[in-house]
């Protein structure tokens, strides 16, 4: 990409996206392009990171390893649902990922956990996210039993309006009470150490 076109792109994006200034956006674009690498199929320029590439980025750079979560995070990044994360989506996503406010993070997590997009996390969704969470549990005991129990307990605590499912308000309420609940149903944000490493790596030229 040409230097000038990148500058203008960075300028437009930085106006739309919070938390990053223009130079930082530039750095992120550079990083994006680096991650994009050579187009997979020659002739057709890649418009963005496709699912597989994004998965390995999440895996290696941000330490998000659970397949379900990786999938869901991809969907939150890929706002226009075209199967690739383009430059703008990348920077928008990272804005939350790296520097998101508590509110933004809560929303991000909530949408990750809300599979069917009905603005509620249902029992079934929780169960789905927690399946395979137990290992080495007894042969005699049904592993699902424990998960079901845990889901009920969790729901009981977090469902403030008692409608049997978690709305965004419920979720927000709980997380504000106890920030440990932010990623309660699975890691979908990078941890502080990884954020620091990534920022250092990407923004090193600025320092």
């Amino acid at each position: 990409m040409k230097r000038r076109s990148m500058k203008s792109l960075a300028e437009t994006i930085s106006k739309q996206v919070e938390h990053f200034n223009q130079t930082e956006v530039e750095c992120l674009i550079v990083e994006f392009n680096a991650l994009l690498g050579e187009p997979t199929s020659p002739g057709r320029a890649a418009t963005g990171l496709e699912r597989g590439k994004f998965r390995s980025i999440l895996h290696n750079i941000f330490g998000i390893t659970n397949d379900t979560m990786v999938d869901r995070v991809f969907r939150t990044f890929d706002k226009d649902n075209d199967g690739v994360v383009n430059t703008k989506e990348w920077i928008e996503g990272l804005s939350v990922f790296l520097r998101g406010t508590v509110d933004e993070r809560i929303k991000h997590c909530f949408y990750v956990y809300d599979f069917n997009g009905d603005n509620n996390i249902s029992r079934e969704e929780m169960f789905h996210m927690m399946k395979d969470s137990f290992h080495r549990l007894s042969t005699e005991e049904d592993p699902d039993e424990g998960i079901k129990d845990l889901v009920e307990m969790t729901l009981k605590k977090m469902d403030h309006d008692h409608d049997g499912r978690l709305s965004l308000t419920d979720f927000e309420h709980s997380v504000r009470e106890d920030n440990l609940l932010l990623e309660v149903f699975g890691t979908c944000l990078p941890d502080p150490m990884r954020i620091e490493t990534f920022e250092q790596h990407v923004f090193q030229e600025l320092k």
Partner: protein, 924 residues
């Protein structure tokens, strides 16, 4: 050759043995366990007659080994006389009492032969029989022990050593030592951290192998009711679990104990009527984290079943009287909830772990039952292990629980015993502030006893904690500071406070540069922070190296500023920091600069808070060591207030008040003030206390006041001399010497002091006795007292009878100036009477050496003593031989007239004698 023959012989004997030495040894070891302390003990003592063990395990002399005798025992039962027992391959029997080896008559058998020791003891000691039966009855319904044996050997491989009752222990005697260790391991194993698995195996296997046939034989014939067994183990639990609970436990254990072994269990337990699982339940149920009892070498077997694992438990505690108040962890719904949560914690992935930790926060974590349940159910170990993971959310969750439950004494100990501090200290390095704060807070709670504090230091925790103080924002640029940062620093300070109670930690804090950091935090607007900081500082102030760092201008200023706060706790710590620091002159001079003296005096009015009063009076005491300060104190009428505090105060306060009065009494005018306020009277009453520090201080005041005739009159009237004299009987050398110093002016100034001393029964004996004390200060003070006593002829005569001359002569070889001075004084005074001058003949030569001293006081006393001695011609000859003249002439150069006179007098006497000698020769 002889050796060869002997060992060959021994081998042969060995071959014939039926009851082998190992079996005997085990039986004896077991009996030794029964000799526990307390009412419930069964035997007083069990011991061998000989400590030497032959290679074949026998303790008898070889010629007796030939008769198949293995060893001799001396057992003291509680009710009958001492039993002398021979253990031979044929069995046990009483002998005629072997007192000395080689005395053949003692070896004879005087009773029937019994198959085992227990039977013998039962037949001879009704008490023993009764107690063992009692314990047996509790176990009667156990499954046949033969079966237990089977299971046990398998079982041991699975989960370590099950806890057993008296009877079981008797039958499986060797396993005692391993008992609790594998249990602990098992816990780890169960928690899915099976690092120690192999360990457990090897240990318990070895214990299993030792099994001897005899044991099995003896314990057959008991009813086989496995259920009761489970019931028994329940009773050993703190929280009496129902059998339902056992079922659950059972299940879990058998599951977690690994499939690969289960087949084996099945094989080996055939022939046993009961289900193998019962066994599993058994050991699980007695599992609850009793790790701390690992240390105990002698499990309280003699104590009836119920208290089995509890009583002996924490007996080796040093600082906190930790004894678990058990048996009220009733089977609450919460208990099951905890059990479930711990299970999730153990088996869940990271997500479940965080979620479970979240739910655990809902438990009533401040409640002891809940805390202990978490521990007992293995949760504590899991929480600690979580700190080793990389997942910061798990760590946060875990520490949030640990910091709360660590308020419990037992949990604290358990955390340390599980080496939990290592992980916690390591967490201080985390870049996440919340984690740092949590870890520091937990350390603040845990480091309440010595071992914990040592561990924190060993893991380099002190340095890390000091680093946390950096997080406190620089007040100059408060912008951009976060609440988090303050928290980190606050908990860091709190943790340091806890740690600072160990001497080495104080040094470590100082070394890590903690003192200036703490000084910076003294300016914090947060009162809690200041309390923690001042608390740490005042702890550290007891170390000289730390004091040096504290004594900066600013810190004293800030301490005094905080002393003005209206928070009692803060005031207490500030005052005691000043108390400790004012040992050094620099601080003493700084305190008045910031109007500290006035402040301290004004705080004396807060007499209700004894702790504060103690600290404040201490600070006044130390500050008054400087004369300038004392003058200021006098302006504030401090002495009157202090004298008022001599009545109805706790000893901590009294020590300091009296100490301060001791300083004030250095000035003559103040003695009258003390007298006028009735101080002497109060002090005399306090002489009956036992606090040694207090007695030392009282002696000092009394000694100082006794130089004032008015005061002395009152002391006399109140029989004070006798009271002070009786302090010489105190065991503390400090008290002895300070009392002796106080006696000197008393003897000088008391009315009819000669009669007084004479009338005190045994008083002079005591003085002479203490002259042989190993403490130099005591000896010095006794010399001083003797110098005063010897003024009265009759008393001197008694002293001489008690051999004081010889003792003083013996002391003359000293090189200590202080002792030399007072010794010379004593010699000088003694010489005044009778033929003591002659008696001191041997002391002359060493006394001449005293003249080499640079100390003028020594020179003066020595010169005086030599002058007295020089009235005896033999002494003069000795002096002359030792070259006394030259130093004496030097002494005459001195400006000290007494010294001049004495030296000159001595030389004069020498000349006189020389002249007389010459005359005698001339006019013969």
């Amino acid at each position: 050759m002889d050796n060869q023959l002997l060992s060959q012989c021994l081998k042969e004997i060995d071959g014939q043995v039926g009851l082998d030495p190992a079996a005997v040894r085990n039986e004896v070891e077991l009996l030794k366990l029964l000799c526990s302390e307390g009412e419930k003990r069964v035997l007083k003592s069990v011991r061998y007659t000989s400590d030497y063990v032959f290679p074949n395990g026998c303790r008898t002399p070889p010629w007796r080994q030939a008769l198949n005798e293995i060893c001799y025992l001396v057992i003291e039962p509680c009710d009958t006389e001492t039993l002398h027992i021979t253990c031979s391959t044929a069995g046990y029997f009483l002998n005629g009492g072997i007192k000395q080896e080689g005395e053949e008559s003692g070896y004879e058998r005087t009773s029937d032969t019994y198959e085992d020791l227990e039977a013998l003891l039962k037949s001879t000691s009704p008490h023993f029989a009764e107690n063992t039966n009692k314990q047996e009855s509790a176990v009667q319904e156990l499954p046949s022990t033969q079966e237990i044996q089977h299971v046990k050997s398998v079982d041991a491989k699975e989960q370590g050593q099950p806890k057993l009752t008296m009877q079981d222990v008797l039958s499986t005697r060797y396993k005692n030592n391993f008992e609790l260790f594998p249990l602990w391991r098992t816990l780890e194993y169960r928690c899915g951290f099976g690092k120690a698995k192999e360990n457990t195996f090897s240990l318990s296997e070895s214990s299993g192998e030792e099994k001897s046939g005899k044991i099995q034989k003896r314990t057959t014939g008991m009813g086989a009711k496995p259920k009761v067994k489970a019931g028994f183990s329940v009773s050993s639990l703190p929280g009496c679990m129902s059998s339902r609970k056992i079922e659950a436990e059972k299940k879990k254990l058998s599951e977690s104990s690994g499939e690969e072994k289960s087949g084996k269990i099945q094989n080996r337990t055939t022939g046993m009527g009961a289900k193998p699982k019962v066994k599993a339940g058994f050991s699980v149920s007695s599992l609850p984290g009793r790790m701390s009892s690992r240390k105990i070498k002698t499990p309280a077997v003699a104590v009836p079943v119920d208290a089995f694992s509890e009583t002996s438990d924490e007996s080796s505690e040093e600082e906190e009287p930790a004894r678990r108040q058990d048996s009220n962890t009733a089977e609450t719904p919460e208990y099951y909830l905890i059990q479930k949560l711990v299970k999730y914690l153990t088996h869940g992935n990271q997500m479940v772990t965080v979620l479970t930790l979240y739910h655990m926060m809902d438990l009533n974590l401040m409640q002891e039952a809940c805390q202990l349940a978490i521990w007992d159910l293995g949760g504590l170990q899991v929480l600690i292990n979580l700190l080793d993971t990389v997942e910061y959310k798990c760590k946060i969750g875990s520490l949030r629980i640990l910091r709360i439950i660590s308020h419990n004494v037992h949990i604290r100990r358990a955390i340390v015993d599980m080496r939990g501090l290592k992980g916690i200290v390591k967490t201080l390095d985390s870049p996440i502030k919340q984690l740092k704060a949590l870890a520091a807070e937990t350390i603040a709670n845990v480091a309440r006893f010595h071992k914990a504090r040592r561990n924190v230091r060993r893991y380099d925790g002190i340095t890390k904690l000091v680093k946390l103080l950096d997080y406190f924002p620089n007040l100059a640029k408060m912008t951009g500071y976060q609440e988090n940062d303050v928290d980190v620093a606050l908990y860091g300070a709190l943790a340091l406070w806890s740690c600072s109670k160990s001497t080495k930690n104080k040094e470590a804090i100082c070394k890590a540069g903690g003192i200036p950091q703490l000084g910076r935090l003294l300016k914090s607007p947060d009162e809690n922070m200041r309390i923690a900081v001042v608390g740490t500082l005042q702890e550290c102030a007891s170390e000289e190296s730390c004091r040096m760092a504290i004594q900066t201008k600013d810190m004293i200023k800030d301490l005094l500023k905080n002393l003005r706060s209206d928070n009692d706790e803060l005031q207490i710590h500030c005052a005691s920091a000043i108390f400790k620091c004012a040992e050094d002159k620099q601080t003493r001079d700084l305190v008045p600069m910031y109007k500290g003296l006035q402040l301290l005096v004004s705080l004396l009015s807060k007499a209700d808070n004894k702790e504060l009063l103690a600290a404040v009076t201490g600070a006044i005491w130390k500050c008054s060591i400087s004369m300038e300060n004392m003058a200021k104190f006098q302006d504030y009428n401090t002495m009157e207030t202090l004298v008022g505090l001599l009545i109805d105060q706790p000893e901590e306060v009294l020590v300091n008040v009296v100490g301060a009065l001791g300083e004030f009494a250095q000035i003559p005018a103040n003695k009258t003030t003390i007298l006028k306020c009735g101080g002497i009277r109060s002090l005399m009453k306090l002489l009956k206390k036992t606090n040694q520090m207090l007695l030392v201080n009282i002696s000092k005041v009394v000694g100082a006041c006794a130089t004032d005739m008015d005061c002395m009159a009152i002391i006399d009237e109140l029989d004070g001399v006798r009271l002070v004299w009786s302090l010489l009987k105190n065991s503390s050398a400090d008290v002895q010497s300070s009392a002796a110093w106080a006696l000197c002016p008393c003897i000088m100034n008391a009315k009819d002091s000669g009669d007084l001393v004479h009338s005190l029964l045994g008083a002079l004996d005591l003085v002479v006795e203490l002259l042989e004390s190993t403490n130099n200060e005591v000896v010095v003070s006794m010399c001083a007292v003797i110098a005063k006593i010897a003024i009265v002829k009759e008393n001197m005569a008694i002293l001489a009878d008690l051999g004081v001359i010889q003792l003083l002569t013996k002391l003359a070889s000293t090189t200590d100036d202080k002792l030399r001075r007072h010794l010379a004084d004593a010699v000088c005074q003694c010489c005044m009477w009778g033929d003591n001058r002659t008696a001191f003949g041997e002391a002359v030569a060493p006394l001449v050496r005293f003249l080499k001293s640079k100390d003028e006081a020594v020179l003066q006393s020595t010169a005086l003593a030599l002058f007295e001695l020089s009235w005896n011609p033999h002494n003069i000859i000795t002096m002359h031989e030792r070259g006394v003249v030259k130093p004496l002439i030097e002494c005459m150069h001195s400006r000290n007239e007494t010294l001049q006179d004495a030296a000159a007098g001595c030389v004069r006497n020498m000349r006189m004698m020389a002249n007389a000698n010459r005359d005698a020769r001339l006019y013969k």
